[in-house]
């Protein structure tokens, strides 16, 4: 190389070579900080297990005592940390259907648990048992949800393409004594749905 130095033809000039090396060296020196980006998303702390449905009064829901055409707010997955459990993304509407929709039965067809996050803009909807309503209503933009299926039938959420027109749902199970349990869910669009995104029916 030393002999050919002045007669170099083609290839990189020394200055360009050095600049490329400098760029590569800088890139390699800062590359190990790229995975530090994993620091930002908060790692999920709660594990998804089969747990009893605990009502706001602290008791376990029982199909024999839970009123027909009635809804309560339940927490899943519960962490035991009051601050984390207050999150809206852990809140579900636990509904016993009205009589005419089959709420009188003593099996798991009479009850539903839907995510409280409206699929439109993530406000919190709730179930209204009044005569003539008997549906989920979102206070922000008026989306209404069918308590049977969790699918929006009126309002902005209803015009969103599937799966974003159907609320995520928890799978419920009732034991021989009538106590209600939540089965471990799979939070993807084809199974229990994705909170705030939706579910394929």
């Amino acid at each position: 190389m030393s002999e050919l130095g002045t007669k170099k033809s083609g290839g990189l000039s020394r200055r360009d070579f050095l600049k490329l090396m400098g760029a590569a060296g800088t890139g390699l020196a800062f590359a190990p900080f790229v995975p530090f980006g994993n620091y930002m998303p908060n790692p999920n702390q709660a594990s998804l297990e089969k747990v009893p449905v605990i009502l706001p009064d602290g008791t376990q829901a029982n199909i024999n005592t839970y009123p027909i055409n009635h809804a309560e707010v339940i927490t899943y997955p519960s962490t035991g940390d009051a601050a984390l459990d207050a999150e809206a993304f852990r809140k579900w509407q636990f509904i016993r259907l009205p009589e005419e929709l089959g709420g009188g039965k003593k099996d798991s067809n009479a009850i539903r648990a839907y995510s409280m996050i409206c699929l439109h803009l993530w406000c919190l909807w709730k179930y209204w048992p009044d005569e003539g309503r008997k549906r989920g209503e979102c206070p922000c933009h008026g989306s209404m949800y069918d308590p049977m299926t969790g699918t929006a039938f009126v309002g902005p959420a209803s015009v969103q393409a599937a799966p974003s027109n159907t609320l995520p749902q928890l799978t419920l199970e009732i034991d021989s004594d009538g106590f209600v349990f939540i089965l471990p869910p799979k939070f993807n669009a084809n199974d229990n749905g994705v909170i705030g995104y939706g579910r394929f029916t």
Binding site: M1, S2, R14, K19, G22, G25, L28, F36, N38
Partner: protein
Amino acid sequence: MAVSLERRTGAVGFFYWLWDGVDRTIFTAIKFSFPARFVSPFGFLGMLTFSVFIILGVSGALLMFYYQPMLDRAWDSVQFINDEVPFGFHIRNIHYHGSNAMVLLAVLHMYYQYFSGRYKIRNEVLWMTGVILGVVTILEAFTGYDVIFSERAELAISIAASLTTSIPVVGPTIRDAALGSGFSDFVLRFYAQHVFLLPIVMLGLMAVHFPRFLVFDVPMVMAIGGAILITGGVFPIDMGFKFEPTVPPGVTVPEWYLTGIYAFMRTQYDKFVTGLLWPLLFIISLVLIPFIDRYKKFSWRDRPIITAFGITSLAQIMVTTYWGFYISPDVSVPLVERLVIDPIFFYSTMILMVPLGFGFTYMMIKLANEAERKSKLAKSTGPKKVATINLSEKWINWLLVALLAFQVFLNIAAYNAALIGMKNISLFFIGIILLVFAAFFHIYRYSLSQEKNAPPPPAPVQEEKPKLAEPDASIEQSKLLEGDSLPKGKPEPKELAPEVPIPKTQADLGVGANNNPNLGSGDLNKP
């Protein structure tokens, strides 16, 4: 060659345009210099301190995303960062060891400026704001290690609050205003001061403290960063014990920059005097030193009294810092005897430091003057002032390639260590990566400057010879001869060929040859 990195088109052109736009802003008032060769880091310790401040700002901002400044959550949230969050361990260790590095660099910076007399020549304001900045830095570090609310932090907060209360007359008011009334308040308020108030105060002081000429030495900044990460990898900071009000805390000492004050407090004398008055006296005497120092010269050798005081203070700081740490390990001795430092012994040692410091200074000045005299006698054989890398172009290139390959290996090693959960090994490797980059950059800039500074290549002599034989050239030559009026009788045209200095070093190796075929691109060759 079709491709050249010299062109400023597209994105590069845009960035140069942005850079030129900075011309219209305040930033051009500050002269940044990026040294092209190794310079002693003592001259820019302040800039290094500021670089660590930036590192602390970034890592601290990241920690804020998870930290919860609540009495019963603070420790758990730090544990969550340390154990659960990906790379939380890294960020926390960088932040912790960065804080130690910043305090250490600030102290070194101060003492270097002290001994080299830089606070003279109208730099008094810079010096005084610097001392205050140093005090705020220590307060910042102190509030930082307290917001974890471990056992040690709880004790430190208690001491801070009781010291504040001990200030005569205004103490309790200051305590209530600045620290609140209980631990719940302390944690939240220390946090507010740690992440906002004190940094804002520091930035304000920095605006005054910054000189107009700043040296930003990339390899040294990277090396300091690497040193912080390596320290974190070798000595990862633990969690301490979570403070439980029902469990009495164990014996504990503060961080190393406060053990000096802690040693004074352990002499059992009044807490206001030992914990606040003595440190305050030290700080005030530092602030006033430019007005006490009436020497006309700068060098420490020419200011013996001031140097002696500096040496004495350094010795006292070292002794008290160690003494504050030291607690007799003999548990059969009652605790009070292990913790209490005999004040007569302690203060006698402090006073003994004064003649020792003066004697040491006298000896050092004698030795330095003698060394200077000798070096003047043997100036021709003295050490070279400028360090050079005695490697040929080829070997420097291969060295750069080898370092890059080593960087690739280290990157893989660091990522692999992080993947399999060896967090401190990964931190250690990333520190090594930064150190290797420091070395790489040093060689890179050296080689770049060699390329730039090399003498111009010799003009091709052989090609000019046939020109002289041509008729037009001979006319010119004859005119030249007349003008020169050389009657010496040297008609040989060969001798009249333009004399080319024989290149001695790099030029004959081809270094500095202008290989750029893009004619007219010389104006783009700005560094």
